[in-house]
Symmetry: D2
Subunit: 400 residues, 4 copies
C-alpha cells in the first residue's frame, strides 16, 4: 500500500472507534479550549492501534507535541501513517511516531532512543521503558513527570528504579476504575467472545477450568458461568480461593481438575501455572488458552519439547500431539488469545475510553500541577478517579 | 484460485469442524457398516459451508449418492470443490454439487432444476423448494420421502403443498431438541458473540431492546442479561409477554422503549416489527440488528427512503442519517447479523452436530421404513429425538 | 379460642393478603356489578387458608351462594370462622364451610357428603372429589359445570370419570400461566426460602441434587444456582435431561450423585424416586426434602424400616440414624417442606392471585356460557388465559 | 418456665446448630488438647443466642473461665440457662452469664459492671463496651488483650479510646473473610429469605431499590436480581456507583427512583438515607425495609411525625398512612428486618461458624503470644485468615 492509502485506511478505522469514545470526545473539546499541554512535548511508548489514535488526538488537541513509538511487533502501520499526517492536517503541534510492525528488536530499541533524543518533558510510558532510558542517560531537570500504563511498569518504578526517578509518575493501572471497568468486565467479555469466535464451540454445559481468581480470572469465571458453562477455579492464594468457593465455584488443584476439564484458561499473571504434568492428565482434545498479559502461563516450551507433532488447523488453533497418543489444542500459541484471530477487537471501546481518560486527566494534572505530586510511582489522584466515575455514569446513562 | 487449491482450502476448513462433531462421527462409523442408503440418490438443497460438508460425508458413508445445490448467494466455493472431489477420493457413490457463490438467481434456479433432473428418490429439502419442484413436474412414484430443514418449509408443506406430496417429509426444525439446542442456546450465544465482535461495544450496563420472546428471543434476552446488559422485551403475544415479565424483564411496546434503548435486536420471524415510527423516536446513534431468519423484521426500506445519507463505517456497520439530524447504526443491512463480518461462525459446532444428526437419522428412517410414516409434513419421530438426546448427553459428558 | 376471637384472628390474617391480591380486587369490583353468579350455588372443595378466603369473597361478591369444605387435615379454623360470618356481615348469599383442622377422615368424608347434599349447581373441585361424588350419586341435570384445581383431578376426569361427567369441568392447573407463574417461579422461590428458613444453612457453594426437571424442578434448580448453589439434576426423561444439560446443569443418576450431594430435593410427581439404595450411599448428615405435591417421592417408609433411631431436632428437621453409623436429615417428614415450619407462607401472594383469577373467570364462563363448552375435562379457554396475562402485566407494572 | 425446662429448651436448640458448625467442632477438639486458655478468665459482651453458645463451649473446652453478659434486649434466656449449667456438667472452668431478655437498661449496665468486677484478663468485646469500661476504671496490668467483634467497636478503639488501651484488641469484622462470607453472601441471602418469609410477596419482576453498594448492599442487589427482581441502586460514593453501573444495575438518586420502586431496602450504615421527601414520592403501598446494623437508615421518626395513622397488619408488617392519602408498609419498624418475625434465623450457620472461628483463633493468639501483637485495635493476623480460609474450603468440600 502507498502511504496515502495506508493513511486513508487508518483514518477509516479510527472513525467508528472515535464516535464511540464519548469520554475522550468531551475531554478533547475541553482541552482544545484550556490547552494544558501548550509548549509541552510528550514522549510516548504505547501499543499503537486505532483506539490509541483517539488518545493521541485528544492530547494533541490540548496543545501537546507528541513523539513516540509503539510496542515491538504490534504496531499497526496504517494507524501510524494516519497519525503522522494528523498534526499538519489539523494545524496542531507536531505528532511524530516511529516504528513499523516488521521492525527488528534492534530497530525498536533505536525507536525508543529516538523518542528520548527528542528530549520530551513529559512521559506516557509503558513498562517503564522511557523512565529507565532517562535514568540510564542521566536525568536532567527537563522532565516534569508523566504516566505509566502498566502494573509491571509501576513495579519497576518501585523496585529497580526506586529513588532514581525524581519526577512524579502516575500509574494508571492501579486505579480501581481500571480494575473494575477493564480487568473484570472487559477482559471477561473479550474472553468469552474470543472463545466463541475462534473455536466456534458452545459454552453451555462445557467444563472450563480458570486459573487465577484475581480481577481478570473473576471476570472470566463469572461470564463463562453466566453463559451456562460449568466452571472450576484453580487458585493458590487461600483468600481468593475462599472467595471463589463462596461465589459458588468448584475450587481445586490443576492436577485434580485436569481430567475433568475440557477448556483451560490461565489468568494469573504468573509463569508456568499450567504445567506439562497437568496437561498430560487431560482428556483427548482438551483446549488450552491464556488471557494473561505475558505468554508464559502455559508451559508451551515444555509442551513442545515432548510433542510428537503439531500443526495449525485453523487460524489461532493449533493441534499438538502428545506421546500418550492424545492431543491438546492450543489457542494463539499461548499468547493472549483474546487478541488473536482475523478480527481481534480486544477490550471494549468503552473500557478503553475509560482507561485513556485516566491517562489524559493524569497527564493534565502533571502538566498543571506536578509540584503537588510526589516523586516516583503513585496512584491516580482520588479526585481524578471520582471525576471520571461521574462522567462514565453519565455517558452510560446509568440512571435509565 | 485453482480448483485444486480451492479443494485444499475447503478440506482444511472442514477438518476442525469434523473433529468437533462427535455425533456425526459416531453416525458415520455406524452407517458405513449398516449402509442404509445403498442404492439411494438423495437430492439436496441446503446452505453449503464446512459444517454441511460433514453431514454429506456422513450420508455418503452410509451409501448415498448425493446430488445437490446450495442456497442462492451463500454457497462457499471451496467447500463445493472439496465435496465434488470427495466421493471419488473415498470410493463412495457420486456426490455432485452445483452452484457457486456468484451465481445469478437464474443460474440458481437452473441448479435446482438439475437436481430434480437427476431424479433423486429421497429429498434433503430446505424451504420446500425441491418438494415444490417435484409437485410442479408431476410427482412420480420414485420419491420415497425425505426431510425438510426449516419451519417455513414445513409451513409450505402444510399449506401450499398440503395433500400434494404423497411421500413423508420429516420437518427437522419442529424437533424440541432443535428449539432448545439451537434456537435458544446457540442463537442466543452467537448473537452476543457477534454483537461484541462486530461493534466492539461493551454489554454491561448497555440498554438492549429484544423484539420477540420465542425460542430465539428468549435466548438472546437471557444471554444479554447474563452478561450484564439491561434488557427490555417487546412482545405482542400476551402469553409470551407474561413469561418475559415473570422472567424479570421489562416488557413494553416499541414506541415506549424506543427513546430508552441503545441497541434494538429483532427475533420475531415477522416482517416490519421494528418500524420507522419507532426508529424516529430513538436517541442519536442507536444500533439496529436482526437475528431472525428473514431480512424483513427491521423496516430497512422505509428507513432508507427517509435517510438523508448513509455509508458503511466498518464492515457490517452502516451509519444512516435521519432527517431529524440524528443517526442510527444498522448492522449487516438488517440481515442476520450473527452471520456477518469477516469471521462469521454462526451457530456452535455442537448445535449443528445435533441438527445434522436429526437429519441423518430421519433420512435413515425414511430409507428403511418410509411405509411406517404418514405422507406429507410430520415431526421427527419421538424415538429418534430420544436417541439423539441420549447421545448428546453422553457427548457432552453431562454427568461430570 | 372463642368463635368470635377465632373470627377476628382470621379477619386480621386475611387483610394483608387481600391488600396484595390486586387481580382479585379488580374482579371483585367488577363481579359485584355484573353478578354472574346470582342464584348459583357453588359446591367447593379446596384447601382453606387466608388466600382462599379472598377467592371466596370474590365469588360471593359476584352473587354466589357457597357451600364447601377444606382438605383433610389442613383446614385453618380461624379462616373458617371468619368466612362463615362473612356473608351475613356483607349481606351476601350464604357462605357455609364445614370442617375443622382436627377432623377425622370419617368426619371429612361426611363434610364432603354435606356439600353434595346441598345440591350445588356449580363445582369448585379439587382432586375430583366432588365430581366423583356426584357421579356415584347419579348425576342430575342440576349441575351446569365447574372447575378442577389440580392436574391429578384433571387426570381422574379423563380416566376414571371419562364419559361419566356430562357437564364441563375446566382444569385450572393445565393453564400455561399456572405452569409459569406458579410452578416455575413461585415454587422455585418458596423452596429456596423454606430451605434457608427451616435449616438456616447457607446456599452458596452447597451441593444440591434436584430430582425432576419439569416446571417445578426447573424452577428449583435455577433459583438454587442463582443463589450460588452447585446444582445437579436427576431426570429419567431424555428430553428434559437434555434441556437440563444445555441449561448448564450436571445431569446424572441418583446413585452417581448420592455420594456427591449434600441436599437432595425431589420434584418429580412420582413415587419412590429417592430410594433407600441411594440414601445409603450419601455422606453423613445429608439433607432430604420433597417439594412435590404427594409425600411419596422419598422412600420414607423404607428409610424408617432400616433406621436405628430418629428424632426431631428442631421443628420440621428430623435426624434419622442409619445402620451404617451415618445419619440423614429429613425435612418435614417427606411432605412438601415448603409448607412446613412455624411460618409457612407457601407460594407468593401474586401467584395465588393469578391462580384464583383463573378460577374466578373460568367459573364465570361456566355460569354465563356453559353451553359453549364441551362436557368433561378441558383447558382454560384461550381468551381467559390472554385476558389474565394482560391484567397481570398491568398489575406487575411490567413496562416500568 | 422453670430453670430446668429453660435449660432443656436451650440445650435442644443448640444441638442442631452445633452439628452444623464444623469449624468450631474441630477447634473444640483441638483446644481441648492444647488448652491455651488454662487459667484465663475471658470477659465477654456478645449477643446471646444458640450460635453464641457453640463459641462459648469451644472457648470453655480450651480451658477458659468465662464471665459475660448479652446485648441489651436480645438475650435469649433459655440459652443463658443452658450455658450457666454447662460448665459444671462438663467439668470445665466456670462459665457465668448475667442478664435476661427483660432487663432494664440500668440492669444491663449493672451486668456489664459485674463482668468487669470479675477482673477478666482477656476480653471478648462488642462495640467497645468492655474496653471502655476498663479504661474508665483505670487500666491495670491484668488484661493481656482481646477481640472486638464489630467495626463500630473498632472505630471506637481507634478514635475515642486511641492510645488509652495498652493491650492488643483484634478487630474481627475487619477480616476480608467476614466481608465476603458474612456481609456479602450471608446478609444478601438472609435479606431475600426474610423478604419472602415476612411479606409472602414474589420477587420476579418486582422493582427493588437498594440503598448502598458496600459489601452488604452488593450482596442484596445481586441476590434479588438473581431471583428475577428488577434492581436499582442508590449510592452517593462515585466509585461504588460506578461499580454498580458496570455490574449492570440502574444507578440513580432516591428521588428519581422513589416513584419507580416498589420495595426500598437500606444497607448503607448511614442515618437518614431514606428520607421523608423520597417516601412522599412513592406509589401507594411501597414497602420500606432496612438491613443495616442500626435502625436509623430510614427516617422513621420523620415518617411517624407526618403519618395520619398506622397499625401492624401482620407480624413485622406495619401500614403507615400518609397525608397524601397513600400509605407505605414498614417492615420491622426500620430495624434489621432480616432478624424479625417468628422464625428469625439471621445469618447462615456456616457464616457464623466462620466468624466465631475468627474469634477463637484470635483469642488463642492473644493468650499464647500477646507480646507479638501491637497495643490497640488491629486486624486479624494474616496467617489466621489464611488458616481459616483453608479450613473453610475443606469444610465446604469446595473441590467437589
Amino acid at each position: 500500500m502507498t502511504d496515502t492509502s495506508l493513511e486513508a485506511t487508518g483514518a477509516a478505522r479510527v472513525e467508528w472507534i472515535r464516535s464511540r469514545m464519548p469520554l475522550l470526545a468531551a475531554a478533547r473539546e475541553e482541552l482544545s479550549r484550556t490547552r494544558p499541554f501548550d509548549g509541552r512535548r510528550i514522549g510516548m511508548s504505547l501499543h499503537i492501534e486505532p483506539k490509541t489514535a483517539v488518545l493521541l488526538e485528544t492530547l494533541s488537541a490540548g496543545g501537546a507535541e507528541i513523539v513516540g513509538t509503539g510496542n515491538h511487533g504490534s504496531t499497526q502501520d496504517d494507524v501510524v501513517a494516519y497519525l503522522n499526517a494528523y498534526a499538519s492536517a489539523n494545524g496542531a503541534a507536531p505528532l511524530t511516531l516511529f516504528g513499523r510492525r516488521d521492525d527488528s528488536l534492534e530497530q525498536h530499541h533505536a525507536n525508543v532512543a529516538r523518542v528520548l533524543d527528542a528530549e520530551p518533558d513529559m512521559l506516557l510510558d509503558n513498562g517503564g521503558d522511557l523512565a529507565a532510558g532517562i535514568v540510564s542517560r542521566g536525568v536532567t531537570a527537563s522532565v516534569i513527570g508523566g504516566t505509566e500504563e502498566t502494573t509491571s511498569g509501576g513495579d519497576r518504578l518501585r523496585s529497580e528504579l526506586a529513588g532514581a526517578v525524581p519526577f512524579p509518575m502516575i500509574v494508571i493501572n492501579d486505579s480501581l476504575l481500571k480494575a473494575i471497568g477493564e480487568n473484570k468486565h472487559a477482559v471477561g467479555q473479550s474472553v468469552v467472545e474470543s472463545f466463541m469466535r475462534i473455536t466456534n464451540l458452545m459454552v453451555p454445559g462445557r467444563r472450563f477450568v480458570v486459573f487465577g481468581y484475581g480481577w481478570c480470572g473473576r471476570g472470566v469465571a463469572h461470564y463463562l458461568r453466566a453463559l451456562g458453562g460449568k466452571v472450576a477455579v484453580v487458585e493458590i492464594d487461600e483468600l481468593k480461593a475462599f472467595e471463589a468457593a463462596l461465589d459458588g465455584f468448584r475450587v481445586s488443584t490443576a492436577t485434580d481438575l485436569a481430567p475433568w476439564g475440557d477448556v483451560f484458561i490461565t489468568a494469573t499473571g504468573h509463569p508456568g501455572v499450567l504445567t506439562l504434568e497437568a496437561i498430560e492428565l487431560m482428556h483427548d482434545g482438551a483446549v488450552l488458552a491464556n488471557c494473561g498479559h505475558f505468554p508464559w502461563e502455559i508451559d508451551v516450551e515444555g509442551l513442545r519439547a515432548v510433542a510428537t507433532g503439531s500443526r495449525e488447523i485453523i487460524e489461532a488453533v493449533e493441534r499438538i500431539d502428545l506421546p500418550s497418543g492424545r492431543h491438546v489444542v492450543l489457542l494463539a500459541g499461548g499468547r493472549m488469545f483474546n487478541l488473536a484471530g482475523k478480527e481481534p477487537k480486544g477490550n471494549s471501546l468503552e473500557s478503553m475510553d475509560l482507561g485513556f481518560l485516566l491517562q489524559t486527566l493524569s497527564l493534565e494534572r502533571v502538566a498543571l500541577d506536578a509540584a503537588a505530586l510526589t516523586p516516583g510511582a503513585q496512584p491516580v489522584p482520588d479526585d481524578i478517579d471520582r471525576t471520571i466515575a461521574r462522567r462514565m455514569l453519565a455517558a452510560m446513562h446509568a440512571s435509565e
